[in-house]
């Protein structure tokens, strides 16, 4: 008689054994975990092997994008929900951490107010708005990083999925969602710094945000978060839950008729994905040093979808590859030929759709076979 229970870790291990792309990704992340701190902190400046702090931050930023791309791939690649508003969740996670960092500035701000951030003093505000209360505590900020995007996703998903909004209509309202937030956060009265957003951060947990050690700590945290998110997502898609998600993607009505409450499944994965996006945003903001409403711009969310499409949707590691490759190209092009970048991005999307339906990883898999 076969034993009946297989613990969740064994489902994950079995999935990883067949997951070549995932193995490579985790190996690369492990290597980065060792090599990046080593070449940045230990290898002396001037040496050919030295990695500049600028590069560390740049890589860290790419990995935040990669985490965001995984979140999008989870709902789009596996459940067919094409979200064109995921940077809304990313930005909200970023704002949560940004608020904490603002509160840490204290008297070192231009106006030297011990409580109020500069922009509030500038607006002649006398007291801290209620939603800024408690944000000077790091744990509170961390909870908000997942709670706020998760709650927004829950409310939005509840309304959208229960009314059975699907396909392109859903994509359009996700764009509307992020656009509405963009407009709202632009307003000074919202209390998030308006157009300028939140910036001029000084310290995180009492450590200088600009110090190389801090940069490395942020990088390491990002790598660990990405690896953890990858494992969590790999488990989800390898479980029966993941097979139900893919069934919903391929034949939603049929899934309903064999007894699955499609709305619950969509809602669950949607909220989880939004939380991942929030975490990505929270890791992103201390590394780039600013969060402002432009992060909500609809175009950003579309770009994330392009990363996933270029990398190869429905693979998870493809999303990581796409995010890093496209953003590396973006960094290169916007320096070398800034006017070309948007055309290059558009061309990339068209070409990937036409010739690489399974993205870069699909191409590599075909080459390997």
């Amino acid at each position: 008689m076969e034993t009946t229970t297989m613990k969740p870790p064994s489902i994950l291990l079995a999935a990883l054994r067949q997951d070549r792309g995932g193995q490579i990704l985790l190996a690369l992340l492990a290597a980065a975990l060792v090599l990046v701190p080593l070449t940045n902190l230990v290898v002396p400046e001037g040496s050919a092997l030295h990695l500049s702090t600028y590069s560390v931050t740049l890589f860290g930023k790419y990995l935040c994008y990669a985490l965001l791309a995984i979140a999008v791939d989870l709902v789009w690649g596996y459940c067919g929900i094409l979200s064109l508003g995921h940077t809304a969740f990313f930005a909200l996670g970023g704002y949560a951490v940004g608020m904490y960092l603002m509160r840490q500035i204290g008297t070192r701000g231009v106006y030297g107010d011990p409580i109020l951030p500069d922009f509030m003093v500038f607006l002649n505000w006398k007291t801290l708005p209620w939603f800024w209360q408690g944000m000077n505590h790091f744990p509170v900020a961390l909870i908000m990083v997942v709670l706020v995007p998760g709650l927004l996703a829950l409310i939005f998903g509840w309304l959208a999925f229960l009314s059975r909004v699907t396909g392109v209509y859903l994509s359009i309202i996700t764009q509307a969602l992020t656009f509405a937030l963009l407009l709202a956060f632009f307003r000074n009265e919202m209390g998030f710094g308006g157009n300028n957003g939140l910036t001029d951060f000084k310290e995180l947990l009492g450590f200088d945000l600009q110090a190389p050690g801090m940069r490395i700590a942020l990088f390491v945290t990002t790598v660990l978060a990405l690896a953890g998110a990858y494992l969590a997502c790999r488990y989800i898609v390898a479980s029966r839950f993941g097979r139900v998600l893919q069934a919903i993607r391929d034949a939603e009505g049929r899934t309903r008729f064999i007894g699955y409450k499609v709305e619950s499944y969509k809602l669950w994965i949607w909220v989880f994905s939004a939380m991942l996006a929030g975490i990505a945003g929270a890791l992103y903001v201390p590394q780039v040093g600013i969060i402002n409403p432009s992060e909500f711009a609809p175009i950003n969310s579309i770009e994330v979808v392009i990363w996933v499409a270029v990398g190869g949707r429905g693979t998870l590691y493809g999303a990581v590859a796409g995010a890093v490759l496209v953003n590396y190209a973006k960094t290169y092009f916007t320096a070398a030929a800034p006017e070309v970048w948007l055309y290059a991005l558009g061309a990339l999307f068209v070409l990937a759709t036409l010739f690489l339906p399974r993205g870069v990883v699909g191409l590599m898999r075909r080459a390997a076979a």
Partner: protein, 278 residues
Amino acid sequence: MSVSINSGGGPIGLRFKPTGRRHSTNAPSPDLSHNIILYVEGITVSFDGFKALNDLNLYIETGELRCIIGPNGAGKTTMMDVITGKTRPDTGSAWFGQTIDLLGLTEPEIAQVGIGRKFQKPTVFAEHSVFENLELAMADSKRVWHVLFAKLNGEQRDRIDEVLQIIGLQDARSGRAGALSHGQKQWLEIGMLLMQDPLLLLVDEPVAGMTPQETERTAELLVSLAGKHSVVVVEHDMNFVRSIARTVTVLHEGHVLAEGSMDEVQNHPRVKEVYLGE
């Protein structure tokens, strides 16, 4: 028009007493104490003024195998849509056993209380393996939290293997369902129905596009299922209906035109006029 239940249909399988085998789904079991599993009464559905169903009355006995025939547009598929919760009727009622009001339930809830449906166009999950298709359809808790940590136990594996055997797809078990032939997809769909272990099976055109041999095997399978399950088959293929039918219901313009044995309905003057009288 008055409807007579089981008029001249001969003795049908009334031995079957449901065991309440709706395992771990938390769904209520239907009360079948009157030996009627499905009551459809006075159902009217109109789309933009067109009455797809017009005061439809239909009663299915427990363990019965019922064939429903009718020309295109007679309302056969709409009737299935109403029973499975896809379409809400304007008026009328639909009960599963004595106590379960189908019109108050959603599609997944109806599936969970024990009504399975096979679609006209076979819709299997193309990207999943044959085995996974059966696993997904399996009667088991379908709540998110359970499914996230669910793992097949030996009994469930055996059940899937048994169904693979019944539908003759053992050799295709790990292949992509999308790669199956049309007839095999039809069979897989029937297998998925079996995995759901429903009390009532609604089967829409099971032999469309099948070879004569496949049709024959399908007929055998459906006949063998009756008794243990109640089966309602909608079919165009008259030879097929003749080979399996005990009781035939003829639908016309959303209404029951006649009901009885194949011979009776074939000799019914109105039926001859609108449908069989070619």
